[in-house]
Symmetry: C2
Subunit: 399 residues, 2 copies
């Protein structure tokens, strides 16, 4: 028998990592400069406190929207760190990572045929969620020549009567850049002027340098049209715990929370315990880890800048750099494949983040420093071996 399925679900595209994954299969010798899944252990401090809470009582379902104590702490954090005032009872939802937050927000807001502005290259799920809602993605280019910052005239040109919202991450995955305050303010002006909504993914905010980005929801008139997504996965190396949170306008949160209930019942109690522990984790535990990640990014960037013909926007946020390797005359996918086969380095083709990523690779620093250095060395050796094949003028120096 053949079972028909809902076409909106069948339309959700599968990513194209299959070729990369198949090339990696069974290879023990590869250095991972590919993934966004750190090899770093959760701080011992958080593990110890989580264990205490695990043993402190029954592992019952929690409040559907998240434990009240956790929502209270998150409201304080949003106020003091991001300048966002939100009622912990009505305006915050604890989610299964930013992944769930993104799904429930977009599914609640979007109707078929509406349009979503996606600055691109982009995190693939902004597109997948748009498609899953039957809505239309409209890509707005983030240009290497402009330091991967969005330009308002290009956003204006992408508008139509059906435009509902803009979704982006700041700091940016895959681009590695944090948009400066002035750019965030420009974006807010644009959004207010055209009466749009914002979905902003700030999961990498603690990895921005020299400080976390300006939260767009904190600007005048923006809180009532902004859904702010943050989480614990990256900041505390608790990816597999699956705890994020979402703050947004109360009238819509009411519906989002009911959809969340229907999917989740509640977030995991033990993961919420870990989140509470994380909020108490001393800065002395965390700061050295953030510093190490910035340092690894600097090492990777400096190394890449030594390759003739390759350009790279200097990273100042997230785990990534997004260099332009088009001087090698290969597609991103072919280059990533060759790097696995010939140099034993895993990277992601820029096209994983939309066609605007063609010519680029996304390189990450989730491996330990010595592994990152080893991967960089292999990459440099590979580049040296191809130096006589470099196509002049295809790369672009921005600094």
């Amino acid at each position: 028998m053949s079972i028909s399925v809902n076409p909106a679900v069948a339309a959700i595209p599968y990513g194209d990592r299959k070729r990369i994954m198949e090339l990696c299969r069974g290879r023990e010798d590869l250095v991972d400069l590919m993934s966004g899944n750190p090899y770093q252990q959760m701080p011992e401090w958080i593990r110890r406190r989580t264990t205490e809470l695990l043993n402190s009582g029954p592992m019952r379902y929690t409040h559907y929207w998240g434990m009240p104590e956790l929502r209270q702490r998150l409201a304080e954090k949003l106020r003091s760190e991001c300048g966002i005032s939100v009622d912990p009872e009505r305006g915050i939802l604890v989610t299964h990572g930013v992944q769930e937050a993104l799904y429930v927000v977009m599914r609640t807001l979007l109707r078929p045929g509406e349009e979503v502005l996606i600055p691109s290259p982009h995190y693939a799920n902004y597109l997948l969620n748009t498609v899953a809602c039957g809505a239309e993605p409209v890509f707005v280019p983030l240009r290497e020549t402009g330091g991967f910052l969005p330009e308002v005239d290009e956003l204006e040109a992408a508008l139509s009567g059906k435009t509902r919202l803009i979704v982006f991450s700041n700091p940016n995955n895959p681009l590695g850049v944090t948009w400066p305050d002035g750019k965030v303010e420009e974006l807010a002006d644009f959004v207010r002027k055209h009466d749009l909504l914002v979905v902003v993914d700030e999961i990498y905010r603690d990895f921005a340098a020299p400080r976390p980005p300006l939260s767009i929801a904190s600007l005048p008139g923006m809180q009532q049209r902004t859904f702010t997504l943050q989480g614990f996965s990256k900041s505390y190396f608790m990816m597999g715990m699956r705890i994020g949170y979402l703050a947004g306008p109360e009238e819509v949160m009411l519906h989002i929370k009911q959809l969340h209930y229907l999917i989740m019942l509640c977030p995991s109690r033990i993961a919420q315990y870990a989140a509470l522990a994380a909020l108490d984790c001393p800065a002395e535990c965390l700061e050295p880890m953030y510093r190490e990640y910035r340092e690894k990014l600097r090492i990777l960037y400096d190394g890449i800048m030594r390759i003739p013909g390759v350009s790279c926007v200097q990273p100042n946020g997230s785990f990534y750099v997004f260099p332009n390797f088009s001087c090698f005359g290969l597609s991103s996918m072919d280059l990533a494949a060759k790097l696995i086969e010939e140099a034993a380095v895993m990277t992601l083709p820029g096209t994983e983040f939309g066609s605007a990523g063609e010519g680029h690779l996304r390189l990450s620093v989730v491996s330990d420093r010595d592994r990152v250095e080893q991967g960089l060395e292999r990459l440099l050796r590979f580049a040296q071996g191809r130096s006589n094949q470099v196509i002049p003028g295809r790369g672009m120096r921005t600094s």
Copy 2:
């Protein structure tokens, strides 16, 4: 500004527990015979092993569909305990409880306008998910006089050209009964004859007496049309961990898994560790707990049967009894409210499970035995106080 939302999401009804919850607010004296959220701690054995795994390495994202080792173990369990043969790579998905499993299955299968058969009284989420898909619920009565078993002629009468699937739980929440093998076989005949699909929620299977129910997917020709939902929440008292799983036809699982990825990225790693630990938990840890729950159910049932005019189908599964209190001449909601106000006992109105539950209350045994006994005593005293108001013939003895 007013933000419009997707009407399919806005249509998801909120439950009607508000009045009950408000009556309970601030009352420290209440006995909980209401909830499905046990006060029982996770077995120490599982907590210890989970702690070891928490400290064993980084808390990374896992495989999107669940850790391969866990899926392998679940495939073995499904084969040996339920007679269901399923490929761990293609036919199983680890979910955020049965709640997520139900959502992703129904959202993937259903299109607007299709019809869903729901034997009723029913777990509210079967209805909520139907509505959230824009599909139509068709309730089929489960009659107290028939021991809450579905009758095939009533199912036949509910069919239309749009009927896609039937969804039910076995053992049943809220009814407390386990449908016998013969009834499950009748259901399978009905489903095959009319080329329908089955979504079966077996979350309470370890609480069935004298043994777990026959899994409908194990019957000839049924696996290719059945989605079997099971979980760890009830069987191991790890509700707040949020781990369930889903087995179904591979062609559809492909789409379900992609929707799951979009919502979840992956299930919680630590919850999957706890699930692996639970699968190794010795029966000596578990059997006494299941026995205690059966014993508490027996105590509650025996007590209720002593109330003149009240009838009750004898429970043999799940955490619940579903007695008929219509002899008191009150609506379920009014009776539940009075019980809180006058007897300090929390119960759920049968109407929480559809209008077919009118006249009934759902009573649970998630509290410790002495609390259950105390709650029962209060209930009996309340009933005695109203014994001169009993309306003869409104209750119905089935045994």
